[in-house]
Amino acid sequence: MKVPLARLAHTRSGDKGDRVNIGVIAWQRKHYPVLVREVTAARVKAHFGSLVQGQVERFELPNLGALNFLLHRALDGGGTVSLRTDAQGKTFAAGLLSLEVEVDDREFAD
């Protein structure tokens, strides 16, 4: 079944220059492998479409049950240059929560 990422993980985002990073943290450790399998750099880039002009990198933090995404050229030039409402990428975290993630019922059972 498909569930929104919000059911499996919580997120926080911030900026560095023209880059946004999004930390994605599994609510339960057992769901970390699902994140690793489902939440790929390519899917994150596709999710944000035209907001992200550059590539998306992904890093794994198994000790925290978390992934970190680095979205390049994602802020219309960077916090002080950008013309956007969210010039520092604070809401990318919430924006990612609607990403649809495929899980089988067994993985999702408590």
Binding site: H10, T11, R12, G14, D15, K16, G17, D18, R19, N21, G23, I25, W27, H47, F48, G49, S50, L51, F59, E60, L61, P62, N63, L64, G65, A66, N68, L70, D76, G77, G78, G79, T80, V81, L83, R84, T85, D86, K90, T91, A93, A94, G95, L96, S98
Partner: protein, 444 residues
């Protein structure tokens, strides 16, 4: 164990927070992080207009307010409030708190040395684009090297109770007292890395205690009196994150994980002037109510170069808005946007960027936003950016006329014409570590 708190996550953070930190429970060191990227260029301009300015002006009155308490309780204050003028900042502090011994750390401001650096063969390219600094040299507004914790520890060793730095690395504010009190050496990389991780957790203040947190946010108690974070650091580099009893907010491992992942790149290589910290190395566990423990942090030697933050004048920008309502609010806003763009085009004005958002529809999440059908109202938000100030000024005249000549029912223009602002761009570059020599001065 030593207790180190952070009472300001940025310049503009809650004024009461540092006062409450020193009054509401035990504390050894109060750190205050005032400097964001944008701050340095603003401060550099202030110093150019008045040589007695160029520092975080919130800081001296704060020290005046807490002077008696920190004296009584023997709390040391460490802040990067100095901006581009730490000595002037220290003098202002001394006026308001003459009983507090105050030291400054100098040497981060390299604006006056840039030409010599370029001449010496350091191209100082933009880390992201590779563009040499020489290409934009005439537009540089500020340049500061990120200095590390050992210089700040040296300032603490003078016996100063207030230590004022300029552009130190954020985590250095918290790491400095650990180095000073525990005698950590420059090659104690695991312990230094532990201090960096601790400093990273508290550098954004209440983002480590339940602020801006998705962790059951509706039930995080008393955000109106949120406690700011305190690191309880042991000599071996293990530490807890806690807050004063009977304060609002909450600390648990989920909340701390969010902050650990805030504004980081490659987690295996979190670079600082003092060490490289590995954010994949350690263990995190809940250690009681509002208390999280971190153990096993691993680190490595710091890079050969120090990072330099350089601000560059980059043209002008303005953002204007109009509001349209149901029915067909989205269609009206899109039609108005098209009219503005056609008129700008017909005027022959060119911009580096024209950016349109429909606030209430897609402003923050763009294509990732859920679809909205026929909303009651939408704010059209158009921004332009370019090198020609006159073109940006002309843009600011093009929105309000749509009240009479655009789609029906435009409103929300009460603020008048948009304001033209200078654009300051930021770039990072590298300089060899040996070129940055810090020094400490006690200010009488």
């Amino acid at each position: 164990m030593i207790r180190i708190a952070n009472g300001q996550g940025f310049w503009g953070d809650w004024l009461e927070a540092p006062v409450r930190l020193v009054e509401q429970g035990p504390l050894d060191y109060l750190t205050l992080d005032y400097l964001a990227e944008v701050t340095m260029s603003i401060l550099q301009k202030q110093r150019q207009s008045d040589p007695a300015l160029g520092y975080a002006r919130d800081f001296p009155p704060l020290i005046g307010r807490i002077a008696n308490t920190v004296l009584e309780r023997n709390v040391c204050v460490i802040a990067n409030a100095g901006g581009v003028n730490p000595v002037a900042c220290a003098r202002a502090v001394r006026k308001l708190a003459p009983d507090l011994k105050t030291a400054v750390v100098l040497g981060d401001d390299i604006l006056e040395r840039l030409d010599a650096f370029i001449e010496a063969g350091y191209p100082m390219q933009d880390i992201d684009t590779g563009q040499p600094l020489a290409d934009v040299r005439d537009r540089v507004l500020s340049a500061n090297a990120y200095i590390g914790a050992f210089a700040l520890a040296e300032a603490l060793a003078t016996g100063a109770q207030v230590v004022i730095a300029g552009r130190s690395s954020d985590a250095a504010l918290a790491l400095a007292p650990m180095i000073y009190r525990y005698g950590w050496e420059e090659t104690d990389w695991d312990r230094l890395a532990a201090g960096v991780v601790a400093g990273h957790i508290i550098e954004c203040g209440p983002q480590a205690t339940g602020g801006n947190s998705q962790v059951d946010w509706q039930h995080i108690p008393d955000l109106d009196e949120i406690g700011y974070p305190i690191v309880e650091m042991e000599a071996d580099g293990t530490f807890c994150v806690a807050k004063h009893p009977n304060t609002g907010g909450c600390i648990n491992s989920a909340v701390i994980k969010e902050q650990l992942l805030y504004e980081i790149g490659d987690p295996r290589e979190y670079l600082t002037p003092d060490c490289v910290a590995d954010f994949t190395s350690f263990r995190i566990e809940d250690a009681g109510p509002d208390r999280v423990r971190i153990t096993g942090v691993r680190g490595g030697p710091p890079p050969e170069h120090l990072k330099v933050s350089i601000s560059v004048a980059a043209g002008w920008k303005a953002v204007g808005t109009l509001v349209f309502t149901w029915p067909q609010a989205i269609e009206k806003a899109r039609a108005a946007d098209a009219i503005v763009r056609k008129r700008l085009d017909r005027l022959g004005l060119s911009f580096d960027q024209i950016y349109t958002e429909l606030f209430g529809v897609n402003a923050c999440h763009g294509p990732a936003a859920p679809l909205v059908d026929n909303p009651p109202e939408v704010q059209l938000r158009i921004g332009v950016r370019g090198q020609d100030r006159a073109a940006v000024e002309r843009f600011t005249r093009e929105l309000v006329p749509l009240i009479l000549s655009g789609p029906p029912g435009a409103t929300g223009y009460g603020e008048g014409r948009p304001v033209v602002r200078e654009v300051v761009a930021y770039r990072s570059a590298l300089v060899p570590r040996h070129e940055i020599r810090t020094r400490v001065e006690v200010i009488e």
